[in-house]
């Protein structure tokens, strides 16, 4: 509670305020001080949100399609082969993500966007998070459905799903370092098309995978996970205009 006596006394102490000129001069000085190099603080979360709009529509479409396929497959067929089939398609989720990650970085765009506050490497990381996160959710969803509908153990189906995903991501990103995106997509698709076909053509292969020792499965998964982490880290740190120039050739240097 304020003391009323003191309050009434203190109210006598009025102060003559400075002129408008003085205030405007302060405003000008403050604004001019901003001209010196000061960078706005940008949270990675904000960058991710701003990059969502630049994710290719084809990525959302095929992800949604994958979701429909999961639900449809398990409604119609509920065997362990369904699980195997579904998780053998996770590599293609990755291949679909490649255009979003790399296509937008053609030489001309990189030349302009490389001069912006947010580095291309950061944009790459943000897009990786968007694509990776959505694909993760889809695979987890498939794992959940598989666990409910089939007898395949949860951990086994989880490792199967993520193994397909991490191995294809690793291969696709490796190719992207040395070849153009379209070539990386084509080669990775071809590799996995052959792999998936062999699983379903040769029953022994399918059974081998389904009956794989859990420890072996987890070691293979961890190996690919580490390799993928390494490639993503390397790509992020080397994702510069000069790298793109190397990939797409130099003209008019």
């Amino acid at each position: 509670m304020k003391n009323k006596e003191i309050k009434s006394a203190l109210d006598y102490y009025d102060v003559k305020l400075p002129d408008e000129d003085k205030i405007e001069s302060t405003v000008l000085n403050v604004i001019n001080s901003q001209r010196t190099v000061k960078t706005p603080e940008l949270s990675f979360k904000r960058i991710i949100i701003s990059q969502i709009s630049s994710v290719k529509n084809s990525f959302w479409f095929f992800s949604f399609l994958f979701l429909i396929v999961i639900v449809f497959m398990y409604l119609k067929i509920d065997s362990e082969y369904t699980t195997l089939f579904l998780f053998s398609t996770t590599p293609f989720l990755n291949i679909i993500a490649l255009p979003t990650l790399f296509f937008t970085f053609n030489r001309e765009r990189m030349e302009l966007e490389g001069t912006c506050l947010i580095k291309p490497a950061t944009v790459f990381s943000a897009k990786s998070v968007i694509c990776g996160a959505l694909d993760l959710i889809l695979i987890l969803f498939a794992v959940l459905i598989s666990a409910i509908v089939t007898d395949v153990p949860v951990l086994q189906s989880a490792f199967l799903g993520f193994l397909g995903y991490t191995s294809s991501a690793f291969i696709a990103m490796c190719f992207s370092l040395f070849f153009k995106t379209q070539v990386a997509m084509a080669v990775t698709s071809a590799i996995y098309a052959v792999a998936v076909s062999s699983v379903f053509v040769f029953e022994d292969v399918a059974n081998f995978i389904l009956n794989m020792n859990f420890a072996t499965l987890s070691i293979i998964f961890l190996l690919f996970f580490l390799l993928l982490s390494g490639v993503v880290y390397y790509t992020k740190n080397n994702y510069k205009y000069e790298r793109v120039v190397f990939l797409y050739g130099t003209e008019n240097i």
């Binding site: 304020k2 203190l10 102490y13 009025d14 102060v15 400075p18 403050v30 000061k38 706005p40 603080e41």
Partner: protein, 171 residues
């Protein structure tokens, strides 16, 4: 536009938003510094300094602190630096004013109050000014002055008593 929105825009380099912040709070900051130091020229310089510092610290400013409180805390720090340098001169000025106040019953109440405030120890003066002139709560004052609420209450209590003592004949 609300403070929060202005700050967000200023963070992204909106000069107009930053200008509005300065115009909105210039007088409040000036009044605090003037009452704290008693000198208009210094108050103008330091007020500008407060806003320059605010611009520099803008990236780190978290909007959960009220803008007014944040600016006042910068004002305290800026005027602390000045006050330490200028203390000797202010004291000698104070003595003169006090003698005047004592000698003349009809002296301007304003000058009385001004000199009375300047006679208070710095921490008590700050609390009195922030409580009575800027209508801040104890909790807010404790945040601005970086001390506990009980310390603020104690300074406020002692400040009020001292003011009563100084202004005994006047009140």
């Amino acid at each position: 536009m609300r403070d929060r929105e202005l700050v967000q825009q200023a963070k992204y380099g909106d000069k107009e938003a930053l200008s509005q912040i300065v115009r909105r709070y210039y007088n409040e900051i000036y009044l605090f510094i003037y009452r704290r130091l008693g000198d208009s020229y210094s108050a103008e310089d330091i007020t500008q300094e407060v806003f320059l510092k605010f611009t520099q610290c803008l990236p780190q400013y978290k909007e959960k602190d009220k803008l007014k409180s944040y600016l006042l805390s910068i004002a305290i720090n800026c005027s602390n630096d000045y006050y330490r340098k200028a203390k000797r001169e202010v004291l000698s000025e104070e003595i003169e004013i006090t003698e005047e106040a004592e000698n003349s019953f009809d002296s301007d109440m304003r000058e009385c109050i001004k000199s009375a405030l300047l006679q208070l120890p710095d921490e008590q003066r700050n609390v009195i000014i922030l409580r009575y002139y800027h209508d801040l709560k104890i909790r807010e004052i404790s945040r601005i002055t970086s001390c506990s609420q009980s310390t603020v209450k104690s300074r406020l209590y002692r400040g009020e008593n001292q003011l009563k003592e100084i202004l005994k004949g006047v009140l």
